[in-house]
């Protein structure tokens, strides 16, 4: 491989990372908003949030990407920059999976904690912010870590739409060299390294957040078997 081709791969890594960061931010925002909305006291809010989750979790991320690229522009007159279109499709899809994690962790907090908040006449917002979230967020980190890896793998899908991410640069190099084993091995290794680094970061974050809660770090085997919801994306305990 020549240095020019490596430059192409580096550009691909940069696009993948940009897309990963943007869609992670959107997905995190969606997860918390929709996940908290699913515990709302008004049934209509719960219903709408549940409907959103079922629709976006039910469809395939790639179909969603096609939809954002091809159907949104003529239907609503929005022509998004590829990076934003990819961010929108991935963030909304993976946000729906994330909302399930948020909801699960919130409902796993001991009900006595919530009742204690009511007894102390906290407002719903104070209860959420001061009692529920500080206990629920550390529990969310292991499944979120798995989801983050799924999202990283999902970013490769935008290469089908011709966006110059890491997978796309792999295809370009294959065309240039007429040889595929080497370049695809490198591309897979690069993805693996990124995934490995993300897992490390998330594990550190989990340790830090759990420091004050007195709960063990690391997920157990039962989490793999006890999934409350059944349309989960691959990769991990949604306990």
């Amino acid at each position: 491989m020549t240095s020019g081709l490596w430059e192409l791969v580096l550009k691909g890594i940069w696009v993948t990372i940009q897309l990963l960061v943007c869609s992670t931010l959107l997905a995190a925002a969606v997860s918390f908003v929709v996940g908290v909305a699913r515990t709302h006291r008004l049934w209509i809010v719960r219903f709408l949030a549940g409907f959103y989750t079922e629709v976006f979790r039910g469809t395939s991320a790639l179909v969603m990407i096609f939809w954002v690229f091809f159907v949104l522009p003529p239907a609503f007159g929005w022509q998004l920059v590829p990076l934003w279109a990819g961010t929108l499709a991935l963030g909304l899809t993976y946000g729906a999976y994330g909302s399930e994690i948020v909801r699960g962790a919130l409902s796993a907090v001991d009900p006595a904690q919530k009742e204690g908040g009511i007894a102390l006449s906290f407002t719903p917002w104070q209860r959420m912010r001061l009692i529920l979230l500080p206990q629920a967020v550390p529990e969310m980190i292991p499944p979120f870590s798995n989801l983050l890896i799924e999202l990283l793998k999902g970013t490769a899908l935008v290469s089908i739409m011709g966006m110059g991410d890491l997978a796309f640069s792999g295809n370009l190099v294959r065309l240039a060299l007429q040889e595929s084993a080497e370049i695809y091995t490198y591309i897979l290794l690069i993805y693996f390294v990124i995934a490995f680094l993300l897992t490390r970061v998330m594990r550190g974050l989990e340790k830090k957040l759990k420091a004050g809660t007195g709960k063990p770090v690391g997920s157990t085997a039962d989490q793999e078997l006890s999934r409350p919801e059944t349309t989960g994306v691959g990769g991990g305990a949604v306990a």
Binding site: S60, F70, I160, L188, F192, T230
Partner: protein, 216 residues
Amino acid sequence: MNWDWSAVSDFMPDFWEGLLVTLQILLFGSLISFALGLVWALLMRVPSRWVTWPVGAVTEFVRNTPLLVQLFFLFYVLPEWGLTFSALTTGVVAIGLHYSTYTMQVYRAGIEAVPVGQWEAATALNLPLRKTWTAVILPQAVRRVVPALGNYVIAMLKDTPMLMAITVLEMLGHARLFSQEHFQFTEPLTVIGVAFIVISYLASLALRALERRLAH
């Protein structure tokens, strides 16, 4: 937004063809992932680092890298090595292999969830190793893992459109072809999007019913 019902009805024959291919991929991909996942899980229990370390490393690698790139790898590299398969076969093998690294963890959890007394009883009865696995451990483990395996079948369903990238004409492949021929993108893409939602919702309902039945 203009919605053209005639485009929908024009697309329907292609849609059914694509659905059939999608379901085929799902069926064979699931079978491969169930079988191979069990093999990985059993290999991980071999009491030798020379077996568990490579198996663990390979499956970890496959699980943490994009299926799409794995598809490209198998589709373009295998012919270079003199192995030529149809795109559909390559895709089914890739998706089965990818998901076997997930089902492996499910089996592992299921095996670990069998109470240790069952192992001790098998030892006390002097059952040979093979009998211990086939008659005592696996029947109890498999019962526990069915719901979690079903989850991965549904997740796999949503990854089948990726096979379009290696020229397999499944639902999304047909939708794209139809869109390019007729220059109507909205209708076919929406139809298959709804189809995915409906299929995965029905499958999750069926799975919940199965789970309830297995719980008794």
